[in-house]
Amino acid sequence: MSDTHAQTELFVRHEMIPPSEPPALETGAIKWLRENLFSGWLNTILTILGLLVVFGLARLFLPWFLHGVWNANSLGECREIIAQTWGPDASGACWAMIRERWNQFMFGFYPRELYWRPVLALLFLLVGLAPVLYSELSSKLVAAGAVIAALIVVLAYNYGVWLPVGMLVTIAAVSAILDARGAKWPRNLLWFSALYPAVAFWLLWGGSVWLPFVAVLGFVLGFIVMRLVSAQLGAILGASAGAVAAVLWWSFGAGPLDEALIGMTGTARPFWLQTVTSDQFGGFVLAFTIGVTGIAASLPLGILLALGRRSDMPLVKVISVGFIEFIRGVPLITLLFVASLLLNYFLPPGTNFDIILRVIIMVTLFAAAYIAEVIRGGLAALPRGQYEAAAALGLDYWKSMRLVILPQALKISIPGIVSTFIGLFKDTTLVVFVGLLDPLKGITDAVRAAIEWKGIYWEPYLFVGSIFFIVCFSMSRYSMYLENKLKREHR
């Protein structure tokens, strides 16, 4: 064999021919263009049509957008400035309206000197959300925390109140102690997340701090009773005893204690904030109040309804199915009208409770029914083996749900749940039809009612729409992030 090799050696190449350059049409930008835009006659037509649409839209909107005026006091002034700068026929946006009415869009008719309170509530919301949304500390999270802390200090300085800084220091101190005792950042902020609803309520509506305080005490009391009784008599009796204790506390204990505490502190500074009534709420403060409360409350209720719908107990099942199908069958507007027109019929004569609270209840019930259906899908998608495995391990119903079934079912339903949340947040605009000042129609109409902004249409819609877009789009991106993070199949 070696002979043959020796003979043929002359004709064998020792090195490869260097690969020749690809033809010019097959490289770089040209290749990309050919493949992505002009790969066939149909694609070429589509590309040209697409370009025409883009150019058409740009020609229509870009000048209007760029000719925008930021400094003016009325629509007429805006138009004058545009006519002077860009010629009499030019069209232009009047962004000055946003600058001028920014506060109204954000806060509605919230008292001007108290703007720090909703802002603080929003900043604390971010703090409270951190441990819920993120389980591990990252440099981005630290940076966000530093920014929030700085903003709170600036806010306090600007408005000359030191309560925000005091609260910030308290949160940081308690969390640092928890950190030292083993709960790591941001997990150690969970206590604040649990407390946040009470804090936000106090900041937004004001009044005495003791009202949310005694309300929270009810939860604490219920929890302690549940723990004590559960240890002795089992989970079911424990949970019932806890619930009964909490209800008893709110019915009989909370009121006298509240009055006693208010009697002691009166309207002294850190214990009392100026009261703001619900009709002063408006704009994005209102949208966020309703949206965030609805989101937070509808998830647990939705889970319960979904479990109820899949329950073996006929009565529980019938009640859940009836509730879900009824709520899903009617438009939200009718439910809001029920809240504003009919709710008083169903309450003891003489009671009259807050319209925002009524709307929140209806929005929550509405979203809960949808979430229940989404979670039911997730529960149905789990293999039966998971239920059987949990039962084989000797877990009782609630333990198997909490430890085995729900974590998996909720993971499957994340996209559906988040899109329900997005829907809920968008639906907060409907409250305008029961007389609340939502940012989209309520505030916009109020702005247009002023003589100087009469006839302004596109700028407010664009502005409010962009804010909704930013919030909803980030929610959907977060759900994609969460899906990716929780993916267990293909690592």
């Binding site: 992505n36 589509l46 009617v330 009208f337 009919l342 003891p348 605009t429 129609k441 819609y461």
Partner: protein, 425 residues
């Protein structure tokens, strides 16, 4: 051999109500039942005492009183002398009209956008993504208001359509002109579209209070008959193909069967279109479609189509690529692959969420309140409610009708779904 003895019958103890799973569910249901009844009783008791205090008693008799208000768009004959009940029906018809047209338009647009979003064309894919994200993440109320503002503020007034002698002489074009072969006028007072008319009309029959045009019935019957005839023709062709191996030419027969009868019927009825014309200060003739309707319809369509596009895209992506490849390997052409292999499988994924989008659109049509379109909520839940002060009865009726509508749509669509879903043995 060992004998398995029966476990001794346990004596019932009170604790078993909680700890024994056999009895626990009964205990829980009893407690839930009692709480539910107590809650319901509390609400009803409150309701009755409140009504007694106000001196009202629930009654639907007001439905037969004179309504006394006008409705802009009436699909069934209505004057302000008619009853509230009839006004409610007019509103219901308006709700159904905008919902049905919205569902159709949203499906068409949504399917197109969904398919285009999957296109390999980079630019088109991005444009469609922008469209979908833009419309999904902003409240539908905003789109309705924006479209309404476009129709009332941007569209020309009827006066701008005017062509005068002097303009003709000087060769000046009018500021605005009608579109679609000079037949549709979009103005700030409403959109005017051609009206189908029949010279030799068959008249109408009255069923109850609803006049039903015999012309429409005849047209529907002929269309249905030609469709069935066409199906029979194709079946026949397939049978011949299976017997002889050769498929007879069907295309001209198909065209004939599909279009000849309807053309003949329309000619026999003397069908023609009445084109809206500018007369005086406004358009005369044709059908006037209010701006409120256009805004509601377009707003709902654009918004829902974005959701449907995502559903369609997900449905097509859910069919594994292997299915396409298998079809190609069997020698199917792309169109046949789409029709026989991809679509039937994609539809299974698409239909259920599509149903819920239709339901959402129907329920969102109650946003008519934003543009004062007289839908069910505008008549029954709006003016009737305010005039009679019967909040309880009106809202109850309103919710029941919406509930019935939703259940109807979902049951119809579920029947369709059971046709397309996977047939398992």
């Amino acid at each position: 051999m060992t004998m398995v003895s029966d476990t001794p019958k346990q004596r019932f103890r009170l604790g078993m109500l909680v700890y024994d799973t056999r009895y626990r569910s009964i205990t829980i249901q009893t407690v839930v039942g009692i709480l539910f009844m107590a809650g319901a009783w509390w609400l009803i008791d409150n309701l009755l005492s409140n009504l007694a205090q106000l001196g009202k008693s629930p009654s639907f008799a007001f439905l037969w009183n004179r309504a006394g208000y006008d409705i802009d768009q009436t699909l069934i004959p209505y004057t302000n002398d008619d009853t509230h009940f009839r006004a409610m029906l007019v509103g219901l018809a308006n709700t159904i009209l905008v919902s049905v047209l919205g569902c159709i338009a949203a499906t068409v647009l949504g399917v197109v956008v969904g398919v285009l979003r999957l296109s390999k064309n980079w630019l088109i894919g991005r444009l469609m993504t922008v469209y979908v994200e833009m419309f999904r993440n902003v409240p539908v109320l905003l789109w309705i208001l924006v479209v309404f503002a476009v129709f009332t503020d941007v569209t020309p007034s009827p006066n701008e359509f005017r062509v005068t002698e002097s303009m003709l002489a000087e060769g000046i074009e009018p500021k605005a002109s009608k579109i679609v072969f000079d037949s549709v006028a979009i103005t700030n007072r409403g959109t005017y579209i051609p009206k189908p008319l029949f010279e030799r009309s068959l008249g109408a029959i009255h069923i109850g209070f609803m006049p039903i045009s015999l012309n429409t019935l005849a047209i529907l019957a002929v269309v249905l008959a030609s469709f069935l005839g066409w199906r029979a023709l194709l079946r026949h062709a397939t049978r011949v193909q299976e017997e002889t191996g050769e498929r007879p030419t069907t295309w001209w027969k198909s065209l004939l069967v599909l279009f000849a009868p309807i053309t003949l019927l329309l000619m026999a009825l003397g069908f023609h279109l009445e084109i809206p014309e500018l007369a005086g200060f406004n358009f005369k003739g044709g059908i006037r479609v209010s701006n409120a309707f256009m805004a509601l319809w377009l707003g709902l369509t654009l918004y829902t189509a974005a959701f449907i596009a995502e559903i369609v895209r997900a449905g097509i992506l859910a069919v594994p690529k292997g299915q396409t490849e298998a079809a190609y390997a069997l020698g199917f052409r792309p169109t046949l692959t789409m029709r026989l292999v991809i679509l039937p499988q994609a539809l299974r994924v698409i239909i259920p969420p599509l149903i819920s989008q239709f339901l959402n659109l129907t329920k969102n049509s109650s946003l008519a309140i934003a543009v004062s379109y007289m839908d069910l909520r505008g008549t029954l839940g709006g003016i009737t409610l305010n005039q009679t002060g019967r909040e309880l009865e009106c809202m109850l009726l309103l919710m029941l009708i919406y509930l019935a509508l939703s259940l109807l749509i979902s049951s119809v669509m579920n029947v369709y779904n059971s046709f397309v879903k996977l047939k398992e043995r």
